[in-house]
């Protein structure tokens, strides 16, 4: 079982990293021939960085759109970030000071993450418009994330797993030595779900995460009159003349 999970995790991580880098490469290489920032837009590069930061950290546009979706979505994402950072303790030895510091917050963030997910799912199930646009995979993603959150929380608060052993297994994996993983049902479920998430990430709608940084309506500077913007394929049209 320990070996199986090792293979699974190596595979999932590889799929995640290679897949994501490949996607980012495609996004970066695809030209944006026209200036299309949604205005009013920042007129300087620094302004764009600020706009993007507000978008990524506070979900500014979603805030304008719908407070329910914003509050549930933001709660989920912020909690997920904390929970993920908290998990660094299972991969670092000694545990970094700031990771130790956020431990208690990270644990409760597991609960708020679950709340956010349930709120988002309720919206998807009960709001007619959102139900209409939902595909089966939209629901499945929420189920998967809920399984990850619930199994994690159960290990934290109900049926403890041997975290020392888990940690030594993962720090081992990072040095390509396969130790033994506690054979604990909840843990298996938790790890299986996480590796599924990692592996499918680069071919799914989770691409919204890298995608937002490449969105021309958000990342372009509003200076078309001041600076001529020309993509390679559009420039060719001029030399052909």
């Amino acid at each position: 079982m320990s070996i199986l999970f090792a293979i699974l995790f190596y595979f999932a991580t590889l799929a995640f990293v290679v897949g994501l880098l490949h996607r980012i490469r495609i996004y970066a290489r695809t030209p944006a021939p026209l200036k299309i920032p949604t205005t009013p837009a920042p007129t300087t590069q620094a302004g764009v960085v600020l706009r993007m930061t507000r978008e990524v950290v506070f979900f500014e546009s979603l805030f304008k759109a719908n407070l329910w979706t914003w509050s549930m979505g933001w709660l989920f994402h912020a909690s997920l970030a904390l929970v993920t950072l908290r998990h660094l303790r299972y991969f670092t030895d000694p545990v970094w000071g700031w990771v130790a510091f956020i431990q208690p917050f990270g644990i409760y963030a597991g609960i708020t993450m679950l709340l956010g997910l349930c709120g988002l799912w309720a919206r998807r199930l009960f709001v007619e418009r959102i139900r209409y646009i939902s595909t089966p995979s939209d629901h499945l993603w929420l189920v998967l994330l809920i399984v990850i959150a619930v199994s994690g929380l159960l290990m934290q608060f109900v049926a403890h797993t041997d975290v020392i052993a888990v940690k030594s297994y993962f720090t081992g994996l990072m040095q390509f030595s396969i130790g033994s993983l506690p054979s604990d049902g909840l843990l298996m479920l938790h790890l299986l779900s996480v590796s599924a998430l990692l592996a499918v990430f680069p071919i799914s709608k989770l691409l919204h995460a890298p995608g937002v940084f490449f969105s021309p309506t958000r990342n372009q500077t509003d200076n078309p009159r001041e600076k001529r913007h020309l993509s390679a394929w559009a420039a060719k049209l001029e030399s052909e003349k």
């Binding site: 944006a32 205005t39 009013p40 979603l62 719908n66 646009i133 995979s137």
Partner: protein
């Protein structure tokens, strides 16, 4: 026309319930062979449309980062789902921005992603069937590319980009829209969207000079094809004869007259509008914009100023520099752009909006007004979508909102704002933009105007608003047509420079 009725006003801001299929089969007329072939598209749906369409989609995905990212990034959060005026007015769920995008995204997933190839049902992927293609034609011609959805999307997904790509694909397989393609043909052939030939244009302008002389006693000129003029005015051709557009044209002429600016129109390039953008075709967009470059070079002008037109200003402000070099900041070795940029006077923005021009002159105290001439009006301002969300004026973000309002306040005493959830960047499209200003879509146009009419009614009731100023030829034409259906006088809509024209003091200068 007789059977078109206005939908009932909502108690704001209730989100309408879904009425699936409400707008099925309500798309615009399909272009004829002749219209399509005149601008280089296949005359009618080609035999191998399926393969051609998928190939075209692949090509666009590799040429436009916007399309590529937007096909991937949507998470179906629904932020945009209640933001489109066509959805609000028609209640057809496929007029929700996300659902409109999904018409294409489902095909993208099927042909360009692994999960869609393996498990189409799971991820909502679909084969491109004839039914799907018809659905594309129907619903991508019910989007006015106003970008309101892109304001609210957490990833900035702009449905306009998807609509443009869809129309580009449809055109490439011979499934074009009559109205837009016919107009593009006219621009190429005659120089403007209305097909107004140069002699008729010159005649119209002479008539205008006489009218203004009769009304004011002053010789306000409407010069055309004047080599060496300082300013080339590029304005939507509707300004030359449509009501109320023409009153704004008179306004521009008076501003130029009062400030002693030498200016000219061009008979070869007598159109600011650029329907190439509406159909998402870069070559058409560029070819139409090239006429302006050519006119500027031939006439040797120092400045290019654009009249009141929403999408035209977006194209001019955001795209002209890219397409034709009208602008600043080209590389020293960019001969194509430098050729024109060396000629232009860079103390001024290139191109400039007529509102920027007028506002500069007001600030320099080179214009004076009798504001009481507009006292019969209580005025509000309708932000035109493409100006609001696709362009800028002045030196700061949001200048496109402030400058027109500043002008109105400088020339009139009574100004009121509409509901802030429907102005500035959150403004609603008039319901006729994006190549939909055609009578075969009148039902859609009336319904799409609903959110604007609701809030106009509000300020009409509360503040007695009787004039809605705007700076877009399409808005003016659309509202003139649909306002009576909502019980407003058609003259309730007009241009900002119509108000300028009313109030401007021309003095005795000849």
């Amino acid at each position: 026309m007789a059977d078109v009725t206005a939908p009932a006003y909502r108690i704001i801001p209730i989100i309408p319930a879904l009425k699936p299929g409400a707008m099925e089969g309500k798309g615009p007329f399909v272009a004829s062979d002749k219209i399509n072939e005149a601008i280089g598209f296949p005359g009618q749906l080609v035999e191998d449309w399926h393969d051609k369409a998928i190939a075209k989609m692949g090509e666009l995905l590799s040429k436009y980062r916007s399309l590529k990212v937007y096909m991937d990034a949507c998470v179906h959060c629904g932020a945009c789902s209640d933001k489109c005026h066509y959805f609000i007015g028609t209640q057809d769920p496929k007029n929700m921005p996300v659902a409109r995008q999904d018409l294409m995204r489902s095909v993208y997933r099927r042909y360009f992603t692994l999960p869609g190839k393996l498990f189409p049902k799971l991820v909502g992927a679909r084969d491109l069937t004839r039914e799907v293609l018809d659905e594309w034609y129907n619903y991508f011609n019910q989007c006015s590319e106003c970008r309101r959805c892109s304001v609210f999307c957490p990833y900035g997904i702009d449905t306009a980009e998807v609509t443009m790509a869809a129309r580009e694909i449809l055109d490439s397989v011979g499934y074009g829209q009559k109205y837009s393609n016919e107009i593009i043909g006219k621009v190429h052939k005659i120089g403007n969207n209305l097909g107004l030939p140069p002699p008729a244009l010159i005649d119209t302008l002479e008539g205008l000079e006489e009218d203004v002389k009769d009304a004011t006693g002053i010789d306000v000129k409407f010069p055309i094809d004047v080599k060496g003029a300082e300013v080339l005015l590029i304005t939507p051709s509707a300004d030359f004869f449509a009501e109320p557009h023409i009153d704004s044209l008179i306004g521009y002429a008076k501003v130029f007259h009062a400030t002693g600016t030498s200016w000219t129109l061009s008979s070869m390039s007598s159109e600011a509008g650029n329907f190439g953008m509406f159909i998402g075709n870069y070559d058409q967009l560029r070819a139409i914009a090239m006429r302006i470059r050519q006119a500027a070079l031939e006439l040797g002008v120092k400045r290019i100023v654009v009249g009141e037109c929403g999408h035209a200003w977006r194209v001019a402000y955001s795209f002209w520099n890219t397409l034709t070099g009208v602008g600043d900041g080209a590389d020293a070795n960019d001969r194509f752009a430098q050729m024109l940029q060396k000629q232009l006077d860079h103390r001024y923005k290139q191109p400039a909006h007529i509102c920027e021009f007028t506002w500069d002159m007001i600030q320099d105290e080179r214009l004076s007004f009798d504001k009481s001439q507009n006292d019969k009006y209580v005025i509000t301002f309708h932000d035109s979508c493409n100006v609001a969300r696709g362009s800028r004026m002045g030196d700061f973000a949001g200048g496109q909102f402030e400058i027109p309002r500043n002008i109105i306040k400088a020339v009139a005493n009574n100004f009121v704002e509409m509901d802030p959830r429907t102005t500035r960047e959150q403004t609603f499209c008039c319901g006729g933009g994006g190549g939909l200003l055609t009578d075969d879509l009148i039902d859609l146009r009336v319904k799409g105007a609903l959110p604007r009419m609701e809030v106009l009614q509000q300020v009409a009731d509360e503040h007695g608003v009787n004039f809605m100023a705007t700076i877009c030829a399409i808005c003016k034409a659309q509202f003139t047509k649909v306002m009576p259906i909502y019980g407003f006088d058609r003259r309730t809509v007009g241009g900002v420079h119509q108000l300028v024209s009313n109030a401007i003091i021309l003095g005795d200068k000849k």
